[in-house]
């Protein structure tokens, strides 16, 4: 495996060996380590000194289920701190087949006249003129590239939002069918890619050899054990494949954690119309191109993704997931899956994070710019955003800036980033993760909701969050989907798979050390970027407004942390 470094100032491309100190670093561990080592914390996120790092995991390209997450990292234009956002799709797999552990985009083009496509195949790497794809949505970009290079390529791309340096722009990856909708959505990393003038990275693995383990027999035995655990654990074997992540809504709505009408309460009257059961029923009744279970990456046996069809059975969007359903649904008082799916498609195509979009619309609704539940207006505004209206630009700048512009105090965001779909008053451990994770408000940085604990009480939540943050970092650092965590609790099994695949010494202790070092590195970077303990707070309203669903306020303060 190698590192691929693209210097946009010189327009040159270098393949580098992985430094020995990075050999057990992959996924988030590698993106954060490279950024920490090479990017000054004080740099402008969209300037020449920031770098975009794209890394797969140590087990990418192997038959290990759910080990094909792609991590993308940079200094974030949204949080002003370090950011890693990971997604599914086929790109981590194809990078592995092409012998690439990470791609580093650095420098700044000498003029702002050109846009590029980075094309990688077994013969080599080249920058190609991308002018013909400028201002096209992600779906058109993918279609054009697939027409040119074949249906089986992997694509990492930005939409117009990234080109326009919108600080809530995401980066998308193609799924197994070539659908460009597996998002590394958070933190505005699409704007960083746009600032490097790269519209898309094409990964053409035609003619490459399969990725093979160093110790084949041992690897196969451990793989069998790993697969059996996933197939025998209720969550990964039954719940996720049927309801996907949308199954979460039953829990959050019951415990008062489902963001509703801009986080004004935690239970939604219309939840039964948009929850996991409703999603499953709608997809199965409509049939056609829809399916309630779908693998977002090659070889995934959990299959928690889906393909949501319109009434005539044609694919409307894939996937439709819990965070999107809650932020575009209950948080905006919308109980119509078709409307949510349409908004999801628009966001995917334009290249913007659905969580941030839902938070921002909630803020606008709170101000009365549009009414809660006004489905026509929200679609109109989303389409305006695509056309580049001033209101659209404000929405693209995220919930905090929209709040400043329209004078809204109740803005659910931490370190500039809109909050995912769990009310922190009702899931206090995750509330702690929102406020002191290096990633800003991010549910993937240390989610505690599945634990059998009293989520509405403050007892031990700081320690519980700390453990959850460490666990999430460990999985992110390996490029393994966090869903696997419900089934594979023995980290020595993961370590064994890594050892037998790579030939490197690995153990549970080593994996924990990598995760600890990664978190420490990220916090250190944030300090150098000017982020202090004073930024480790939730918005004020969570401390003083009781959640009407359960009477809870967020009562974990600076001195408790």
């Amino acid at each position: 495996m190698q590192l691929l470094r693209i210097n946009l100032a010189e327009l040159n491309i270098k393949k580098e060996s992985i430094p020995s100190e990075y050999r057990l670093f992959s996924g988030r561990a590698l993106t954060s380590r490279i950024i920490s080592d090479e990017v000054p914390g004080t740099c402008h996120p969209l300037g020449p000194f920031n770098k975009l790092v794209i890394a797969n995991g140590l087990l990418a390209g192997t038959p290990v289920s759910s080990a094909g997450r792609i991590s993308i990292g940079a200094k974030s234009p949204l949080t002003s701190g370090i950011k890693e956002s990971n997604g599914g799709g086929n790109t981590a797999y194809k990078m592995a087949r092409l012998g690439i552990r990470a791609i580093i985009l650095e420098g700044e083009t000498k003029t702002k006249d050109n846009w590029y496509i980075l094309y990688i195949n077994k013969e080599g790497v080249k920058l190609i003129d991308g002018e013909n794809l400028v201002n096209k949505g992600n779906y058109d970009k993918a279609n054009a590239l697939q027409k040119q290079y074949g249906k089986n390529i992997g694509i990492i791309s930005i939409g117009p939002a990234g080109e326009q340096l919108s600080i809530t722009a995401g980066i998308t990856n193609t799924d197994i069918e070539g659908n460009p909708s597996r998002y590394c959505g958070r933190g505005g990393l699409g704007a960083v890619m746009g600032s490097k003038r790269i519209l898309a990275i094409v990964l053409d693995d035609a003619g490459t050899n399969p990725v093979k383990p160093v110790e084949s027999d041992n690897f196969k035995d451990l793989l069998k054990e790993y697969t059996a655990l996933i197939r025998s654990t209720p969550q990964t074997a039954e719940s996720f494949p049927k309801y996907g992540t949308a199954g979460m809504m039953e829990i959050t709505n019951t415990i008062g954690a489902l963001p509703t009408r801009n986080f004004s309460t935690g239970t939604f009257e219309g939840a039964a119309k948009i929850n996991g059961q409703a999603l499953y029923d709608t997809i199965t009744e409509r049939g056609g191109e829809g399916t309630p279970t779908h693998a977002c990456m090659p070889g995934c046996i959990i299959r928690c993704s889906n393909r949501y069809p319109s009434q005539d059975g044609k694919l409307l969007v894939s996937p439709l997931e819990y965070e999107t359903i809650a932020l575009l649904g209950s948080n905006c008082d919308i109980d119509d899956l078709d409307v949510i799916a349409k908004l999801n498609y628009i966001c995917n195509d334009f290249g913007i994070d659905t969580i941030e979009f839902g938070c921002t619309i909630g803020v606008l609704m709170e101000k009365g710019i549009m009414n809660f539940g006004d489905t026509k207006e929200i679609i109109k505004v989303a389409e305006e955003m695509q056309k580049g209206s001033y209101l659209g630009k404000i929405i693209g700048a995220g919930s905090v800036i929209a709040g400043h512009i329209f004078g809204v105090i109740r803005v659910p965001a931490v370190k500039g980033q809109g909050m995912p779909a769990y009310d922190p008053r009702s899931v206090k451990g995750l509330g702690v993760s929102y406020l002191n994770s290096p990633m800003g408000a991010d549910h993937t940085a240390g989610n505690t909701v599945r634990l059998n604990i009293k989520h509405h009480l403050k007892d031990n939540q700081v320690e519980i969050s700390k453990n959850a943050q460490l666990g999430a970092t460990l999985f992110d650092a390996l490029g393994i989907c966090i869903m696997v965590g419900a089934a594979v609790k023995d980290k020595n099994l993961l370590a064994g798979l890594i050892s037998s695949h790579t030939g490197l010494e690995c153990s549970e202790e080593i994996l924990i050390k990598v995760a600890q070092e990664t978190l420490a590195t990220e916090h250190k970077f944030n300090e150098s970027a000017g982020i202090t303990k004073a930024h480790d707070r939730l918005p004020e309203f969570f401390y003083i407004e009781a959640n009407p669903s359960n009477g809870a306020v967020f009562d974990i303060f600076d001195q408790d942390l």
């Binding site: 039953e250 829990i251 019951t254 599945r450």
Partner: protein, 76 residues
């Protein structure tokens, strides 16, 4: 006797209940779980909420309580 509203929706084991049942005074979460055939060793796989708040197996029900049994999941 007390009445407890049971709302159970756990995909595995095809466990779906939405009804009011009568129990003796002093009934705990553990007793109701046993009544539903849920083994305590499965504790990490589900959450029990009473009136919208997570409670443990030693919780003693009051008349009119609403008990929800939910799969332990995370979203994405």
């Amino acid at each position: 006797m007390i009445s407890i509203q049971l709302q159970v929706k756990v995909p595995w084991g095809k466990l779906e209940v939405d009804e009011i049942r009568s129990y003796a005074d002093g009934t705990t979460v553990e007793k109701v779980l046993a009544d539903l055939g849920i083994e305590v060793r499965d504790e990490g796989n589900y959450l029990v909420a009473v009136n919208g708040k997570i409670e443990y197996k030693d919780y003693i029900f009051k008349d009119g309580d609403r008990m929800s049994i939910l799969p332990a999941l995370i979203g994405g």
